[in-house]
Structures are given as structure tokens and as C-alpha cells.
Amino acid sequence: MVDAEADISDRWRDLDKLLSRPGNLVGQTFDPSPDLKNDLRQYVKVLVVGAGGLGCELLKDLALSGFQNLEVIDMDRIEVTNLNRQFLFRLQDVGKPKAEVAAKRVMERISGVNIVPHFGRIQDKDLAFYNEFNIIALGLDSIEARSYINDVACSFLEYDSEDNPCEETIKPMVDGGTEGFKGHARVILPGVTPCFECTIWLFPPQTKFPLCTLAETPRTAAHCIEYAHLIKWDEVHGGNAFDADNPDHMQWIYTEAVKRAELFGIPGVTYTLTQGVVKNIIPAIASTNAIISAACALEALKIATGCSKMLSNYLSYNGVEGLHTKVTEFVRDKDCPVCGPGVLIELDTSITLQKFMELLGEHPKLLLSKSSISYQGENLYMQAPPVLEEMTRSNLTLPLFNLMGKVPKGVVNVSGMARKDDKKISCTRKLRVLFKGIDGVTDMDMASGA
């Protein structure tokens, strides 16, 4: 019998073939050698955002694609409805944090892999946390969370004086999404391929029922349910907020919806439909998640090693009628406020920081409120914590021109709240500030020489 210890070195036999042999249909950076896998294992760090249907698959796929250093972040706890697809969880895990259980299960199965779990909100980690990673893999089901991570990854991007992205500041992302038998996988290289914001139109806003339909002319079961949910609940319960995770609340909505449906002679209200409508449940199955995550993991391996060409840049999958896969090469929005060189704002040198912040609130592309502003890593004004707010408050009355060291132009970073479809979401933006009436060339030279 072969010595088991010696034999273990054969563990990556199949992956080694791909990473150690030359080929012609490969990435530009591909440098095949036995060391490539070791470098991958030693130096590459990947963050998996979300430990749900896609996240569980991603952790397994990445760990079995040679990645050794992984971290995962998720704020949710395990629920019974996860178990039909989130294969790292068991019935006895219900109630435990997803990130922690997922990390533990993969580490138990695959020796050598190290996965650090983070049980919490993605917004609660600072930029330095995200900057640690070479690749960010997104397994999310919300547009808001994708936008946030996209903002973060793009905030690291810097442009040179000719507006070309600086290679070492590109934070690559792979993003997956599924709904029933359909899904997408995409590669985002900020500054090179379109970012999430460039193609935000791929996610049309959800259609809502007009309130007058719910109140006066209901026709479908969903109208009756939304009447109970959006109108009747507040009428009856006043200040007691509705909680979709409270089964008593859900039962109440269902009972009211049934009453209303009977009143109008409308068929079709069921408890399952009530939950679906109120919680906006997206159907989800194991197989689609497996397909999409696998595509994302494979692309992550290519980004890290160059072992093959790359998906350029969006793969859609549809298994409803037959099997359809399609690659679309979306193009960047040159004026993208997130991954572009920054929204250009021309200012008089006399504009104070306070006035500048007001302008950001009115700017149609920004609509930023509660802004915190920094320039070249220095805080010009911070909304929080109170200590920093107090320290930076005196800057508000000073001209921005002075605060920026009297340069003719420069990039400031702003984080704040943006208005989008009547909702406020936290975001970060890069702004290119240009001061009017200053001779750019000479001053720029002086600034760089200083």
C-alpha cells in the first residue's frame, strides 16, 4: 500500500494540469508553472459576500479550485426554507449565523482551506477590510447590497492623468444571481468592464400596485393581500409595525385578505401566496445556484491565474424552455458616477465646504445628503462619530479651494445617502473638482512638485 501522507500531494492532480501546462487559449498574464498553484494558495485572498444559496456553492467551488484563503460575510441566520439548496446547513443549524456554519462545514470537509466568517452587515465593515481582498465574489439577492459592494470596490479605483485606470487599483468582482430556472454570472473589472452601476438598467424597478386599486377596485388575490398588508394593518394596529417574520402577523394578513377576497368574489388567496406577495419571495433551487456559482468560481480562478480566457463579460442562463446560455459584452458607461474617473464639478474658488455639500444634494447625478468628505485620505468633514464631527466642523465655513491646498483640480471622496426611487441608500462617490479661472497646467506641476 502507498504511504497515505506522500499520496496526499496528489490532491491537486487535476487542477495542476490546468495551471502548469502552457496553452494558446489563455489569459495574457498566464505564466504556467507548478509555482502558480502555490502562489494562488499563499497569496490570493477572496471575499465571498453572502452565505446563502450562491454563497454556500461559491465557498465550496473556490475551496476546490485551489483558493486557500477565503472570508465570508453574511448578516442572516439559517432558516428552514434555506435547506432545499443551501447544502452546508442542516435542520439542527436553524437559527445559527449562516457565515459561521458555512465556513465551519467547508473547513471540516476540505483540509488546508482557511475560511474566516463575518456575521454582520456589509455596511459595518470599513474600506480597509474590503481592500484586503484580491477578488470579491458576490452571492447576493438584493440590488441594494450589490450596489453597495460595487461602490466599495470601485472606490479603490484610481485613474492616471490620461484617465486610464491604474491596473493595481482594480478590484475585480464576480457576481451571480438566480431566480428559479434563470440566472446570470458576470465579471466586473472596475474601469475595464462595466460595473454594476453602468448596467443598472438590467434590474428594472419592481412594479407596485397603485393604492387606489387596492382600496377601491381590487381584482386579483395579490390586490387583496396587499390591501391587508399596506392599508388594513396600519388602520387596525396603528403604531405596531408589521413584521413579516412574525407568523401571527402573517396569519392576520392572510385572514384579512381572505375576507376581502370573499367580499369581492375574487378567488385564489392562499397562505403560500400571501407569504410570497408580502415578503416578495423569489423562487430558488439548488441546480440553478450550482450552475451560476460554478461559472463565477471558474472566472475567479481565471482572474487569479490567467489559466484561460475570461468571460467577457456577462453570461445569462435560462433553463425554462430548453437550455439557453448567452454571453453579452456590455459596454461601460463612460460617465458612470461609480466606476468612471468621477463626476466633474466646476466650482468657484470662493465656494465653502458647507456650500459644496449643499450643491451635492442638488446635483441631479448625485442627490447626496448627509455627506462626509475626504481629500487624499484626509477628512475634510465627517458626519460621525461625534468626536470627528466636532474636529472637522470648523472646516465647513472655509473655501474648499483652500482646504484642498489651492490645487486647480483634484478628486474628493464623498460618502453619504443617495436618493433613488424614493429610497435612500448609503453610497460612496468620487468627484473630480475643477476650480474655475485657475491655470491648470502650471499649477498642476507646482502641486506635484510640492
Binding site: 492532480r13 470537509r109 397562505y271 423562487p283
Partner: protein, 523 residues
């Protein structure tokens, strides 16, 4: 709610309790439990498949630890089938999991009747010779079969069964059947009870667009010798007439009517797809015909008689701006017509059953009703025997793929996967399986691939050196991410076959992991 119902909630919303029941009754046989096979079963076990039987004669080696999640360090030296089966069982204790420690190739050779006990066989990583044999066995025993294979950055999925009929194809987009091009008397009568010139503005903006279009089409026809708008100009004129009826800019019902105005002019009848089904020779039924074809025979008679050229009405209407009362009444009118159509079909089904010597009530009301509701969406899939495809592919298609840039990599891999199997038959290993000798193996693989192309009648066609080189670089590696992708598709197709919902894939899916431009080849 009972726990299984909660656990499966997110998938019950897709295939319903009927689909779930079909899954829970199904028994699956898996051949070879490397990563491709393990990942395929993982997705089915999670979804609550009835039983799995894992067939694999090999023992776990170190190289399995680097690509298969269903083994761990302690599995080394043990039966792979046993280890994989145990880890799969952990995922769902409602599934009956068994394993057989035997080589699939040997089982195909020595015990072909073994496969008859299963609903579906999923054969992974089989070489061509075993594939062809298993295909014949399953076809003869009428067992559904899925081939799945991962090979470096390529792979394939191919279904094989004689025929698969889908009643609930559940397409994403399907034009609703409102009969605005040919309203029946009850619908017209209902429209007559509503006055488009009503003075109450609230009522005016809540007349359902179906009623608006029925009335306006009638008005148009009375002024145009009974004809409906057909030319582009007439259609535009008709829309302008609708617009002129608006008394306020915010009348959503009129906006909906203008948007749906084309439905008034849509030609009567049904799709060429359905035409093909009712004209199929299987629709001439006898005592051996399946229930599906008996119902198709009834459908064909219905269309030719009381249906006046149309399949039965499905009876559902989309949501539209309307007073509740109008909408509910409209719903009732459509449902009544659907019910009448169903009764007519049911009667025909009973008569046909009697004629072919079966019990007249052998097919339940519920099944016939479901058939009627989906009559326009029926789908029939048929699959060639792999042997027939390999020996005589559809040549014009093959030639098209070989010259089409979008297909060149996929068709190249299709040929090279076959060439790799022949290579293995000749040399007892896959090309590039071991380091060294790779250059020599590239040229050997090329010779074999060119030979296959010329056998198929594509003399002079070659594959690019880069692709042949790539195939040797792969060295038959089974990469986890590729296996998970292929396994994901195989399990997805298995679910469609078992639930008899949605439309399974046709042709051969060739995975292209280089740039993801995968293709379906119809050969």
C-alpha cells in the same frame, strides 16, 4: 405548515406539489461518482428526490480530495460509492440512498436488466463505447437517460429517451388567449351591457380594455364590410379611434386597449408547433397509445369541429384596469367558455378511449382539464439514439457548425471528446493524461480527430491546433467548477424530465469553459 412543506417552499413555488410528488416517487441511478456525478446528485437530494443508487467501483484516492466535495481525507482507500453516498445522505434524510461497488462499464456489459428498475439513469464520465451500449439498453427498457461529462474546460450534457411529452411547459412569455379576433356570443353580449359613453368619469376609466376592444372592433367591422383592421394604416387608424375615445389623459384602461389593439387583428388559429403535434402520426391512436396522445387525438377532433379551428380556451385573463364587478364578471365568462370547451374535449376523450378498447374513464377529469388549460403550449421532445447521431449526424448542420465562428469551439470540442475516447481505446490513457510525450500525443489526437471528421463526411475539415493543444493540456482533468456547472445542468434537466414540467433541452450541450460561449448542437 408541515416541515417538509416549509423546507421545500422555494421550489414548490416553481413546480408545485404535483411536481414535488413526482420527484419524491422517482428513483435515480448514478454511474460514476466523481465530482460531476456527486454534484448532480447533490442538487437532486437537496430537492427531495425519492431514491438514489450510486454505482462506482473505484476507491478514493488523494486526487479525489482536490475536486470532489463528497469525500474527505478519511475516505482515502475506501469505496468511493460508499463515501459519496454517505455524505449525500447527510443532506436530506428523506432520501433513500444506496450504493453498489461495481464498475459501471462492467455492469453495462454483464447486467443490462439492472437498469430497468429506475426512473432515470444519469451516466457521468462514460467513454463512447459504454455510452452507446447503455443508450441501447435504456432505450429498449424505456428508461430516461442523461449523459454528463466534464473534461478539462469542456464537457457535455445529452438527454436520451424516445419521447417526452410536456403538458405544463410553463413558458415565460406566452400571448394570452382572449379571442379578441373572434369573440364568442356570450362575450359579445356582456360587452353590449356596457356603455362606452358612460358619463361617470370613474366608470369610464374602469371599463376593462377587453370590453373596449370587443365593442370598437364590432363598430369597425360594421363600417368595413365585416372586416377587422388588417393593413398597417388600418391598424393605426383603429388605434387613433381608441385614442379619440379617451376623456382624460390618465385613463389607463384606454392605454391598455391601445397597447393590446393588435390582438384584434391577430390571425385566428394556433402555432405551427401545435399543428405539428396534432398532425403527428402518434395522434392516430390505438390501444397502445399513451394518455397524452389520446388527448391529442381528442384535441384534433375538437379543433376540426366545435372548436372552429381553435384549441380550447384556457379561461384565464390577465389583470387589467377595471371595476371589480366588471372584472369578476369577465372572468366568469372566460371560465364558462373554458369549461364548455373542456366538456366537449372530455366527451371526445371518453369516446376515443372506448373505441380503442380502454375504460372510458381511464383518464381523470383533472388530467383532461389540465391538458385543455395548456393545449396551446403542448410540447413533444424526441431524441435520436446516440449511435445514430454518431454514425450519421445531420451533415448540413455539422458543416454549418464547422464554418460558423460562433460554433467553432463547441463543435471542435464535440469532435475532440470523441477523439479522446478513441485515443483512450488505442493507447489505454487519455491524451495528455501524464506529463511528457505531450507533443507526440497532440499529433496523434489530431490524426484521430481528422479521421472522425472524414468518417462523418466532412473531408478537408480540420480543427485548430490551438484547440487540439488545449484538449491535450486538459489531460482528462475533472475540475470541480466545471463539474459543478455540468452537474447543475444535468440535475436541472433531470428535474424537468421527472416533473414533466418545463421543456427539457434538445440536442447536445457542449460546455465551453474558455469564454463561456457554450452551444447546443443539433446533430
Amino acid at each position: 405548515m408541515a416541515e417538509p412543506k416549509i423546507k421545500y417552499d422555494r421550489q414548490l413555488r416553481i413546480w408545485g406539489e404535483q411536481g414535488q410528488a413526482a420527484l419524491e416517487k422517482a428513483s435515480i441511478c448514478l454511474l460514476n461518482c466523481g465530482p460531476t456525478g456527486s454534484e448532480t446528485l447533490k442538487n437532486l437530494v437537496l430537492g427531495g428526490i425519492g431514491s438514489i443508487t450510486v454505482i462506482d467501483g473505484s476507491r478514493v484516492e488523494a486526487s479525489d480530495l482536490g475536486n470532489n466535495f463528497m469525500v474527505d481525507d478519511s475516505s482515502i482507500g475506501q469505496s468511493k460509492a460508499k463515501c459519496v453516498c454517505a455524505f449525500l445522505q447527510e443532506l436530506n434524510d428523506a432520501v433513500k440512498a444506496k450504493f453498489v461497488e461495481e464498475s459501471p462499464d462492467a455492469l453495462i456489459e454483464t447486467n443490462p436488466s439492472f437498469f430497468s428498475q429506475f426512473t432515470l439513469v444519469i451516466a457521468t464520465q462514460l467513454v463512447e463505447t459504454s455510452m452507446l451500449k447503455l443508450d441501447r439498453i435504456c432505450r429498449r427498457a424505456n428508461i430516461m437517460l442523461i449523459f454528463a461529462r466534464s473534461y478539462g474546460l469542456t464537457g457535455l450534457v445529452r438527454l436520451s429517451l424516445k419521447e417526452h411529452n410536456v403538458i405544463e411547459s410553463k413558458p415565460d412569455h406566452f400571448l394570452d388567449d382572449l379571442r379578441l379576433n373572434h369573440p364568442w356570443p356570450e362575450l359579445k353580449r356582456f360587452a353590449e351591457t356596457i356603455d362606452l359613453n358612460v358619463t361617470d368619469p370613474v366608470v369610464h376609466k374602469h371599463i376593462p380594455y377587453v370590453v373596449i376592444l370587443v365593442k370598437m372592433a364590432e363598430e369597425w367591422a360594421s363600417k368595413h364590410d365585416g372586416c377587422l383592421p388588417s393593413t398597417r394604416e388600418e391598424k393605426k387608424e383603429f388605434k387613433d379611434l381608441l385614442k379619440a375615445r379617451m376623456i382624460a389623459f390618465d385613463e389607463d384602461n384606454y392605454k391598455e386597449a391601445i397597447e393590446a389593439a393588435f390582438k384584434v387583428s391577430t390571425p385566428r388559429g394556433f402555432s405551427s408547433n401545435l399543428r405539428q403535434i396534432i398532425d403527428d402520426s402518434a395522434a392516430e391512436v390505438d390501444s397502445t397509445s399513451s394518455d397524452f396522445w389520446v388527448m391529442v387525438a381528442a384535441l384534433k377532433e375538437f379543433i376540426a369541429n366545435e372548436g372552429e379551428g381553435e384549441p380550447p380556451l384556457d379561461g384565464s385573463i390577465p389583470d387589467m384596469t377595471s371595476l371589480t364587478e366588471y372584472y369578476v364578471n369577465l372572468q366568469k365568462i372566460y371560465q364558462a367558455k373554458a369549461e364548455a370547451d373542456f366538456l366537449a374535449i372530455e366527451q371526445r376523450v371518453r369516446k376515443i378511449l372506448k373505441r380503442i378498447g380502454r375504460e372510458p374513464d381511464a383518464i381523470s377529469k383533472k388530467i383532461i382539464k389540465n391538458f385543455c388549460k395548456n393545449a396551446r403550449k403542448l410540447t413533444v421532445c424526441r431524441y435520436r439514439l446516440i449511435e445514430d447521431e454518431f454514425n450519421s449526424p445531420i451533415l448540413p448542420e455539422l458543416q454549418k457548425y464547422l464554418t460558423d465562428e460562433d460554433y467553432s469551439i463547441a463543435v471542435g470540442f464535440y469532435i475532440l471528446l470523441r477523439a479522446a475516447d478513441r485515443f483512450a481505446t488505442n493507447y489505454n490513457r487519455f491524451p495528455g493524461m501524464f506529463d511528457g510525450e505531450i507533443d507526440e500525443e497532440i499529433s496523434r489526437l489530431k490524426t484521430i480527430a481528422v479521421g472522425i471528421l472524414s468518417d462523418l463526411g466532412c473531408n478537408g475539415s480540420t480543427l485548430t491546433e490551438d484547440l487540439i493543444n488545449e484538449m491535450c493540456r486538459f489531460g482528462a482533468a475533472e475540475l470541480h467548477a466545471v463539474a459543478a456547472f455540468i452537474g447543475g445542468i444535468a440535475s436541472q434537466e433531470a428535474i424537468k424530465l421527472i416533473t414533466k414540467q418545463f421543456v427539457p433541452m434538445s440536442g447536445t450541450f457542449i460546455f465551453n469553459g474558455i469564454d463561456h460561449k457554450s452551444q447546443l448542437l443539433f446533430l
